[in-house]
């Protein structure tokens, strides 16, 4: 496993000579999920097994392009519904071979985690399986054509929650997946953001350590250029705004203790974030007020666990 203490270390980690991902994947330009996949693979490689169920990073990540595979580590594609169970089985198999130093990682989208595969990941969490489960959250089914998922935020425009006379984006609130996972009392839960790579890296390391005790779950925030509506070169600035406005706060929780890893004080107004993303372009003042209220409630929940 590799540790990075600075951005320079990170650059070396993902250097062409070092990386365990293909030199050039076939994702859209400006893809945050690809960046997250690279960070995960290069952090844990070579001693890892990764499972990536159907989703963007199965099709254009691990699958590779032409005759080259996307990853140079043992890789499996579970079904959309069973990443938790598949990776539990692989962990069990390695245990029986007395191999206890291989990191078993699931890298699954929000559809494969929060919707279709939720029973499986919840089951793995209840058994406190010693695996690292990473949910890359692009807030919808992007590779199939931008359909809403349960983590799509309220009011967001998708192809199945369009903006028009009869519909004004999604009606329902996003599912707080990380909190739900933490409530299984697993060994480690965290949220991360590609715009905070060192924070993400240290959480990946802590997750790996936590698998001595049980399951680790990380939700990483990955904005999607084509699905959300922003230019290819704005991925990181959009991602950063989400955290800086407390729309996507960064925290980690272990031993029942929640810690904010980026301060939630002095947050920028959430409109800074909403205005940078096309899928919120239609929001009315009342809807923005509702978004703020939902965010405040979510923050109060988190603060309760932080004991603040």
């Amino acid at each position: 496993m590799s540790e990075a203490k600075s951005i320079k270390d990170l650059a070396e980690l993902h250097d062409e000579q070092q990386t365990y991902c293909s030199r050039g994947l076939s994702a859209c330009s400006g893809c945050a999920s690809e960046l997250a996949l690279r960070m995960v693979v290069d952090t844990y490689a070579p001693n890892m097994v990764i499972g990536v169920p159907p989703g963007c990073m199965a099709g254009v990540g691990i699958h590779g392009w032409g005759e080259a595979a996307g990853t140079e580590v043992p890789t499996i594609m579970p079904l959309l519904s069973n990443s938790g169970a598949t990776m539990s089985g692989i962990k069990e198999g390695l245990d029986r071979k007395h191999n206890d130093d291989t990191t078993v990682v699931a890298f699954a989208g929000d559809g494969a985690t929060a919707d279709v595969g939720f029973q499986s990941v919840s089951g793995a969490a209840e058994r406190n399986e010693k695996i690292v489960y990473i949910m890359y959250n692009n807030e919808g089914y992007m590779n199939t054509g931008i359909q809403r998922s349960s983590t799509t935020p309220k009011y967001a425009e998708t192809k199945t929650t369009p903006v028009g006379r009869e519909s004004h984006g999604k009606d329902e609130t996003r599912k707080p997946v990380s909190l739900l996972m933490a409530m299984h009392d697993i060994a480690y839960t965290a949220t991360a953001n590609v715009a905070y790579p060192l924070d993400f890296q240290s959480k990946l390391e802590r997750a790996d350590e936590a698998t001595d005790e049980g399951m680790a779950f990380i939700e990483v925030f990955v904005p999607c250029t084509i699905g959300w509506g922003f230019q290819n070169d704005a991925t990181i600035s959009v991602a950063k705004k989400a955290t800086d406005t407390n729309f996507f706060p960064l925290w980690e929780l272990s031993d029942g203790e929640l810690t904010f890893t980026e301060s939630i004080e002095n947050a920028e107004p959430v409109t800074e974030y909403l205005e940078s993303v096309g899928k919120y372009a239609h929001l009315s003042d009342a809807e923005i007020a509702d978004v703020k209220q939902k965010m405040q409630r979510h923050l109060r929940w988190l603060e309760a666990f932080a004991g603040e």
């Binding site: 859209c28 330009s29 963007c56 099709g59 254009v60 992007m142 590779n143 199939t144 250029t225 290819n232």
Partner: protein, 185 residues
């Protein structure tokens, strides 16, 4: 039956080009079908769309294997084996390329080769995009190479599709219509 194969990249409007052409053909009293083909919804990934136009109902639903017209939105695309294999001896191949058609070498023998710098036209008249959206522009060049396309119906299809932006798109198509360079191969 006329068989047309559009090929380009995700984000260039390949699928929409096929739909516009179909709706223009229907308005002109012809029968027409469109079929898109792509892998992931992925900006920059290869996308194909197939159109069939006929005077009688079209029963065939499969991809077009032998195209009368291959319209490539991206200069490099004619090197893709699938697209090239769909071109036959009397096919017309239209490329979005700022070069004389004499300079184009196709890996297979085709009937006619046409070139037009659709990227410049689209960037100038429409939106400037990292991946140039050249669908409406390239349709203009196709209308020139394929006299069976009714230009009035095509313009009407643009109006139906684009509301306020229709005129800009029609102007881009007209410019490509004029500027297409076509040679017998």
């Amino acid at each position: 039956m006329y068989r047309i194969n559009f090929i380009g990249r995700g984000g260039q409007g390949v699928v929409k080009a096929a739909r516009i052409l179909v709706s223009a053909s229907l308005a002109a009293g012809q029968y027409a079908t469109a079929l898109p083909s792509f892998d992931f919804v992925r900006r920059g990934g290869p996308v194909e769309a197939f159109v069939r136009i006929d005077d009688s109902p079209i029963r065939r639903k499969s991809k077009v294997q032998k195209s009368d017209y291959v319209v490539s939105f991206d200069a490099g695309m004619q090197e893709l084996p699938d697209a090239v294999n769909r071109a036959v001896e009397d096919s017309t191949v239209l490329l979005n390329l700022a070069a004389d058609p004499e300079a184009v070498e196709m890996p297979v023998h085709v009937g006619r080769i046409g070139t037009v710098d659709a990227t410049s036209i689209a960037n100038e008249r429409l939106v400037k995009n990292p991946i140039p959206i050249v669908n409406t522009t390239m349709l203009g060049s196709l209308a020139r190479a394929m006299p069976e396309i009714n230009r009035d119906s095509l313009a009407a299809a643009y109006r139906e599709q684009f509301d306020g932006d229709a005129d800009k798109n029609i102007a881009a198509a007209s410019e490509a219509y004029e500027k297409l360079q076509l040679r017998e191969a």
